[in-house]
Amino acid sequence: MSTKLSYTLVITGAPWASQAPQTALAFARAAVSAGHRLDRVFLYGEGVHLASSLCAPPSDEPHWPQQWSDFLSDNQIPGVACVASALRRGLVDEREQNRYQLPAHNLRSPFEIAGLGEWVDGTLKSDRVLYFHGSA
């Protein structure tokens, strides 16, 4: 019997600007179907755009934020967007909307906004931490 591992995935590339979310999703599906555990998906830097509820690509194109949120919900895997990265790039939940008195919030469920401590926790607890970057 093969060893089962736990993973934290860190996505720093944005959908459509990079292949990072797509590659990470393919990995995540393969890992889960092989019986491995995903502790958390952490969005950092440009990767936070994946958690936007306002993306509306043409219906015949892949909808990466939708595919990711469906995958996370179906498998009950926490998805976290880094708060500092998110605020810079216009991704906010209701709490941050109120705090900064912004006109709207746009965080897609089931993503949550939290600090880098979540990533640190992943580096300590997961067997592996994998990074999916956009272009350098």
Binding site: T12, G13, Y44, G45, E46, G47, A84, S85, R88, G115, L116, G117, W119, V120, T123, L124, V129, Y131, H133, G134, A136
Partner: protein
């Protein structure tokens, strides 16, 4: 568990380097051993007398000088890249440890993270 954060891109072009710096500060804040490596174009972070006023930014030199205060254990720089970009040793920050082999350095850390 030890972590090495690697910055291989020149400063100011994107926020990726600053966000990598936030990662190393965050590890240090949680008392996790962490170090920084600047390599390739990334060694330009280590120039002294930077002035980013013209582009409306704070200098990364200022961010970097906070590293020891935050508990970042070590700042490494690739020797070859330093020789290429800053042959005058006075033009780079002090307290940087030059490394001849990035490969050897990376193998000493449990966890290696490249700036996105």
């Amino acid at each position: 568990m030890t972590t090495l954060i690697v910055i291989d891109q020149a400063p100011y072009g994107s926020w990726a380097g600053r966000e990598a710096l936030d990662m190393v500060f965050s590890l240090a804040a949680f008392d996790q051993p962490a170090a920084l490596l600047f390599m390739g174009n990334g060694v330009n972070w280590l120039r002294t007398a930077q002035n980013a006023k013209g582009i409306g930014q704070k200098t990364v030199e200022k961010n970097l000088s906070a590293a020891p205060l935050f508990g970042v254990e070590k700042i490494f720089a690739e020797h070859e890249a330093c020789k290429r970009f800053m042959p005058d040793t006075n033009s780079r920050l002090a307290d940087i440890e030059l490394v001849a082999s990035v490969k050897d350095l990376i193998t000493r850390y449990d966890h290696v993270v490249f700036a996105g």
